[in-house]
């Protein structure tokens, strides 16, 4: 997106009779027009050249952080402790409903490794992986939704990631161990679809009337 907010154009300042306008109505507050008009994006980029959102609809790897808990996150010092705690709380709260569910313990352990699974307390006939930790963005501005991660059995599903997410995303830590810096590769089958608007008509400029 066009985000060059520095290049602010204040039309009011462009008048030749700086600083006072050459003509000021006696009571400008009673006027029928805007007092000042300035644009912050349009003037710098041009209306036809405004940046659009990235067209890249693939799901590239994201740099994320992975910690076993909020204390480990805070100790690492990359994210402020309060953000570590609130993100952990978010992930923890999501865990019961977003953990992958399996019909048997062997099925669960086949995916997540021996002794990494437990019966779902809310549905004891089903098995869920233990929450091994949580992932969060490197910065709050990265807009990564904090979520639980689960141990991933080496090689299962054709990936050697250290962890996986509830939706099947692969989390690869640099060393293969419990490092804070990690890459998240979202699951290939994305639930989000694109291109569902705009098919019924092309550009118009709708002033027409009679």
């Amino acid at each position: 997106m066009a985000d060059d907010r520095e290049a602010q154009a204040d039309f009011g300042r462009r008048r030749p009779a700086e600083p006072a306008p050459a003509v000021t109505p006696p009571d400008r507050s009673a006027s029928k027009r805007s007092q000042t008009v300035s644009t912050v994006l349009v003037a710098s980029a041009g209306l036809a050249a405004l940046g659009l959102g990235s067209l890249d609809r693939t799901a590239p790897s994201k740099d994320v952080l992975v910690y076993v808990d909020a204390a480990a996150c805070a100790a690492d010092g990359i994210r402020p402790a309060d953000e570590c705690r609130s993100d952990y709380a978010t992930a923890r709260a999501a865990y019961p409903s977003t953990a992958p569910h399996y019909g048997s313990s062997p099925e669960c352990e086949g995916h997540h490794g021996t002794s990494h699974c437990q019966p779902d307390p809310n549905a004891p006939t089903q098995f869920v992986p233990r929450m091994a930790g949580y992932l969060l963005g490197r910065r709050a501005a990265d807009w990564v939704t904090p979520e639980p991660v689960y141990d991933h059995r080496q090689g299962h599903g054709g990936h050697d990631g250290s962890y996986c997410t509830g939706s099947g995303g692969k989390v690869s830590t640099g060393s293969g161990g419990h490092a804070s810096s990690a890459k998240l590769k979202p699951a290939a089958a994305k639930a989000t679809s694109f291109g569902g608007f705009g098919g019924s008509g092309k550009s118009f400029s709708s002033f027409g009337s009679s």
């Binding site: 997106m1 066009a2 907010r5 154009a9 039309f11 009011g12 008048r15 030749p16 009779a17 306008p21 050459a22 003509v23 109505p25 006027s31 029928k32 027009r33 805007s34 007092q35 008009v37 300035s38 644009t39 912050v40 994006l41 349009v42 003037a43 710098s44 980029a45 041009g46 209306l47 036809a48 050249a49 405004l50 940046g51 659009l52 959102g53 990235s54 067209l55 890249d56 609809r57 807009w143 639930a191 989000t192 679809s193 694109f194 291109g195 569902g196 608007f197 705009g198 098919g199 019924s200 008509g201 092309k202 550009s203 118009f204 400029s205 709708s206 002033f207 027409g208 009337s209 009679s210």
Partner: protein
């Protein structure tokens, strides 16, 4: 109301370029024309344009309140059945609207006559709010326009204020068909206003909009939109693959779905039935209503036409006087009594009164040679004569 020659600002194209106004010339043909302008008295602006616009908009809201609860009215507007619950829910929820443009025929005498309400996807917004304003300010500063002249144009300030009032917390997206410079320009300008209102925004092409598994609309990074301004008619959006997802989406749209009942020529027939003889309304009936015979000369308009497409003009004797081609009309027609656009030096101005929120905010004028204002009409600035 008068039309006067004021001469172009020397170098206005450079000024336009600096200001980011790229579509002052479209496909080689002029669109912005400041060689002439229109002048109004303050009384004309306030009593002929502003006050009636406020009143008509209020009548439209009263109509919308009834329309969304009345299947017969919704059917008369050709709003498809599967969509009606969404339209109704958006009204009942009180989804706020941002803007609209009432188009009038007025030539300096008598009341202004409402031709239609562009309530869903009006354009010509940036030109009105920014470049027309700049034309006046520079004309005053350089002494080319009479000292003390004003303009009916608080559009920019009002848009920022309104967006500040109604923007939901979270990401606010602005989407248009990016292949259309005017469309993209309008969406981009509103994005600009939203940034000034303190919103976090993104501008994108309609095709970049995504739909998440949780039902929220989103951008390419899948971050959900709290708000989505779409410069795209609802009747088209509801036909699209994502149309059925609007009903359950947490995303709040601008304009809201209930604007469908106003951005429809059938509105004109309903308004006339509710307020027969209203000085600012022209008699109008749905085609097939026997009352059409009482109209005299009339204009035939498809319910969903834009840019004057498929609009036809007939004499009282039924002779076709003028018409524009186009793709609309299968949805039905209305017939509206003819209020010919006035003629000034061979040019025919159409007045567009902007509504921001629920109040009139400014004026724009489009000028054409023929009796039907189409997409080739010029944008001509206006001023209010000094007292």
């Amino acid at each position: 109301m008068r039309r006067f020659a004021c001469g172009e600002r020397p170098g206005w194209r450079e000024i336009a370029r600096e200001a980011g106004f790229a579509f002052h010339t479209i496909d080689g043909a002029p669109y912005w024309d400041e060689s002439h302008a229109y002048a109004f008295t303050l009384t004309e602006i306030e009593e002929v344009i502003e006050a009636p616009s406020a009143e008509l908009h209020a009548l439209c809201l009263a109509f919308a309140a009834d329309a969304v609860e009345d299947e017969r009215i919704l059917a008369s507007l050709a709003i498809p059945e599967p969509v009606r619950d969404t339209v109704r829910a958006s009204w009942r929820r009180g989804d706020p609207s941002l803007y609209g443009r009432l188009d009038f025929s007025y030539g300096g005498s008598g009341p202004a006559k409402l031709l239609e309400y562009n309530a869903d996807t009006p354009t010509a917004l940036y030109e009105t709010a920014v470049f027309q304003w700049l034309w006046l300010e520079q004309g005053l500063a350089e002494g080319r326009l009479p000292a003390g002249s004003d303009q009916f144009n608080a559009v920019h300030e009002r848009l920022i204020a309104r967006l500040g009032e109604i923007a939901p917390p979270g990401l606010f997206a602005f989407a248009a068909d990016s292949s259309g410079p005017e469309d993209l320009g309008t969406a981009g300008y509103l994005q600009d206003c939203a940034v000034q209102a303190g919103c976090e925004t993104i501008l994108l092409d309609l095709g970049q909009i995504g739909l998440r598994a949780d039902g929220a609309f989103c951008g390419p990074d899948e971050r959900p939109f709290a708000g989505l301004f779409k410069l795209y008619p609802w009747e088209w959006a509801f036909q699209d693959a994502f149309g059925p997802a609007v009903a359950a989406a947490p995303t709040r749209f601008l304009e809201p779905p209930w604007k469908m009942v106003l951005s429809n020529k059938g509105l004109l027939a309903h308004l006339w039935a509710r307020e027969p003889g209203h000085p600012n309304l022209l008699p109008a009936y749905f085609e097939g209503d026997p009352a059409c015979a009482s109209l005299g000369a009339f204009v035939r308009k498809p319910l969903l036409s834009r840019e004057g497409a498929n609009v036809e003009m007939f004499s009282a004797e039924g002779t076709r006087l003028a018409g524009e081609p186009g793709p609309y009309g299968t949805e039905g027609y209305i017939r509206q009594g003819l209020a010919e656009l006035p003629c000034f030096d061979g040019r025919r101005p159409l007045l567009g009164a902007w509504i921001v929120g629920d109040a009139p905010a400014g004026l724009c004028i489009r000028e054409s040679e023929g009796p039907i204002t189409g997409d080739g009409a010029l944008f001509v600035p206006h001023l209010i004569e000094p007292a």
